[in-house]
Symmetry: C2
Subunit: 430 residues, 2 copies
């Protein structure tokens, strides 16, 4: 049978992994999809650069036209990253009726629904399993396995850098900066770690997940997003004491009239599987209306896990193209603009840590301000300092479920009262 | 477009769930696959019986010929269970070029590879997501997401009854019989619980997983299988003390020259996600050569979770049929007979609990027998009884990694020496 010709846009670590997997499993692939896969051309920035994977140098080109203008290429694999000029390449491929597989979460977060619609309009597929959760097949699960169910909630540890840093802070008491430096040394964090540790990467992934889970077109800029810079080693100690781990979470909820999306650190109970997802691992917990709870966990990044996801998409897309019915899998992704709940409307439990001078009446004033705002306290612990030492004490409260607006209002009152020595730390509880 | 006509073989709880999901999502389905789905006929044992789901009674029939002989039916959904006459119906459907979706693990365990080959030969699909792990999309993940990777190990909590019983014994100190009785009252266990608690159901599921993960055709009778009847509340207490939970596991390993499959209770470290999968939940941990570790967890049984999986398969199969390229997804399942390692060849760590009279030299003789067989001890604890009371003491040892043959040989020596008051308990450590 005539081979399926693949154009590879980009050949970094993931691209190298894709080439390796395709080569190692070429026989299996041919039997499985009914035709051999052939890498037709590879777009790179520098044809002279050393490549991880052995490669016919004649396939390399720096000219995008050599791929996009080649009508014999059936499927494009985009692993070059970035939004510009990547978006234009992907659109061009789609417009010329070629299916595209991409691992580009930023592109998907910014233009995912538009690209999906474009693919549907052109009768081709857009595969993007590799864009969220690396080797975790969450896109496939949301798109195919839950096809006829409704997702009511979704909670993900989707940023490996954050999870690594928090795990090191918890397990070995490292300070935030030291943990980040270590992550950078191990290649788990970028030189500028802000995309990861400030939560933006997780927000991008949440937007991609929300597209599949809630059929929602959401602007990532509008997702309430907090990173992990404010977490202190002492918060890990208190969390542990109450039976929780601190994890950086991407959270989505179906509210019926709209959806709730938020990215922030959260206390996760030790007895739940999510709390035990450590290091650079990622995990996504879903709840389907009919399916009930479902957890997926694995390597969230890395060349080979992501390559496994990309190649799985390539096989699907190639199979669909061979059948003459491309675009059907993509057609099941139906999105629309949906109202996004404000963070004020979130209802959850809270961990509140105050630093205050240990004077008579302090506790009463803190508890009073919370009570006045309708926030009730479930557990409380006070530690450190002591009346005569002059060192502020830590007072930690876990609240019952409350409305974020009410908690914020109580914290404002407390800030103005001068009873606390510094701004309190608020961490939501999952 | 012409609707896809579905014949439903069986209409119990899962069948009712399938009908409900198909009805609730009919619009979505039509748009997603490109044609409406229509339930053509439903095979039941008793057309007069009350059904959970509202249903046109005219569709019901007790005559299999009314479905199998109807050439206008495109897809069969088998949710009647059992091996006979189910197998003949499924074969007939396949032979007459209709794709089949089944949730029947026993049928799959006994005849899975033969049915897959039959489907491939007839150019149709055999979907069986619902057969293992209920709502956990493990079949899809192994077949599609890991298409180009090799699974090196697989560890599953795949029997909800066992997991419920062990969870209740651990959490609330229930005796085995009481926990089973409670599971029966809640509908989690059959009147005759032996298929579950003796491990046979888990062995069936492991055989289905091994077909996908290792391309292996295995007779379930040949899988070393132990149930949970021998686990005592005291084993939970000791396991906890060493930082472990006891879980009933289905385990598979790629050994290169063959595979290792086994079903038995195991000590699972508390810090791992598997240890925290409680109650009737199921979980499957995989490791792909390129993918690395991957964990899937969710409801292992129940009408709606299983129905979600069945309907997801129906959509795939219907889509493939519409495209005129049915059978491609199934073609990726390639199996052959592979050598199965004997339990003697297993190499793992062991939990050994002896009951012995607290006399001088007892410990030395136990440790000596193990040492002579090349089994070295990592941790030891002695509890209860006391020299003068005459009550035997419990001596628990955790070994370093050892060959099962050597451990068994040491236990034989100990049994013949008369040093232990009763047979020791051996539980493998994951």
């Amino acid at each position: 049978m005539k081979p399926i010709r693949v154009g590879l846009l980009g050949c970094g670590t993931v691209g190298g992994g894709v080439l390796r997997l395709l080569r190692e499993s070429s026989e299996y692939v041919a039997q499985s999809i009914g035709a051999p896969l052939e890498v037709a051309r590879v777009l790179v920035r520098d044809t002279g650069k050393e490549r991880v994977v052995a490669l016919d140098r004649g396939l390399l080109t720096t000219d995008p036209e050599a791929l996009l203008g080649d009508a014999t290429i059936d499927v494009f694999v985009e692993v070059m990253g970035g939004v510009d000029p990547t978006r234009a390449y992907v659109e061009r491929a789609i417009d010329t009726k070629r299916s595209v597989v991409t691992a580009n979460k930023m592109l998907l977060a910014k233009h995912g629904p538009a690209l999906v619609d474009r693919a549907i309009a052109n009768g081709v597929d857009l595969g993007f399993e590799g864009s969220v959760g690396g080797g975790i097949p969450v896109v496939r699960v949301l798109r195919d396995a839950l096809a006829c169910d409704w997702v009511v909630r979704l909670e993900g540890i989707v940023n490996g850098t954050c999870n690594y840093v928090l795990t090191r802070m918890h397990d070995d008491g490292l300070a935030f900066d030291d943990a980040v430096r270590e992550a950078q040394e191990k290649g788990y964090a970028e030189a500028d770690p802000s995309l990861d540790v400030d939560g933006h990467d997780a927000a991008h992934k949440l937007v991609v997940l929300a597209m599949l889970a809630f059929g929602a077109r959401v602007d990532a800029e509008r997702v309430p997003t907090e990173g992990i810079r404010g977490i202190d080693p002492i918060d890990h100690r208190f969390a542990e004491r109450f039976g929780f781990a601190i994890k950086h979470m991407a959270i989505g909820r179906e509210r019926g009239d709209g959806i709730e999306l938020r990215v922030h650190p959260a206390l996760v109970h030790r007895d739940t599987p999510l709390a035990n997802v450590g290091g650079v691992l990622n995990a996504i917990a879903l709840e389907g209306r009919a399916l009930g709870p479902c957890l997926l966990s694995g390597r969230g990044a890395g060349d080979m896990p992501t390559a496994v996801s990309v190649v799985a998409d390539v096989l699907d897309v190639a199979r669909a193209r061979l059948s003459g019915f491309a675009g059907l899998a993509t057609r099941s992704i139906q999105t629309k603009t949906r109202p996004l709940a404000s963070i004020d409307e979130v209802r959850t439990r809270y961990y509140l840590r105050f630093q205050a001078h240990d004077r008579p009446g302090v506790l009463a004033r803190l508890a009073g301000a919370l009570g006045d705002a309708g926030v009730s306290i479930e557990q409380m612990v006070q530690e450190g300092g002591g009346g005569s030492s002059g060192v502020p004490v830590h007072i930690v409260m876990l609240t019952h479920e409350a409305l974020e607006r009410d908690v914020r209002s109580a914290l404002d009152t407390i800030a103005h009262s001068g009873v606390a020595a510094s701004s309190p730390r608020l961490i939501r509880i999952l």
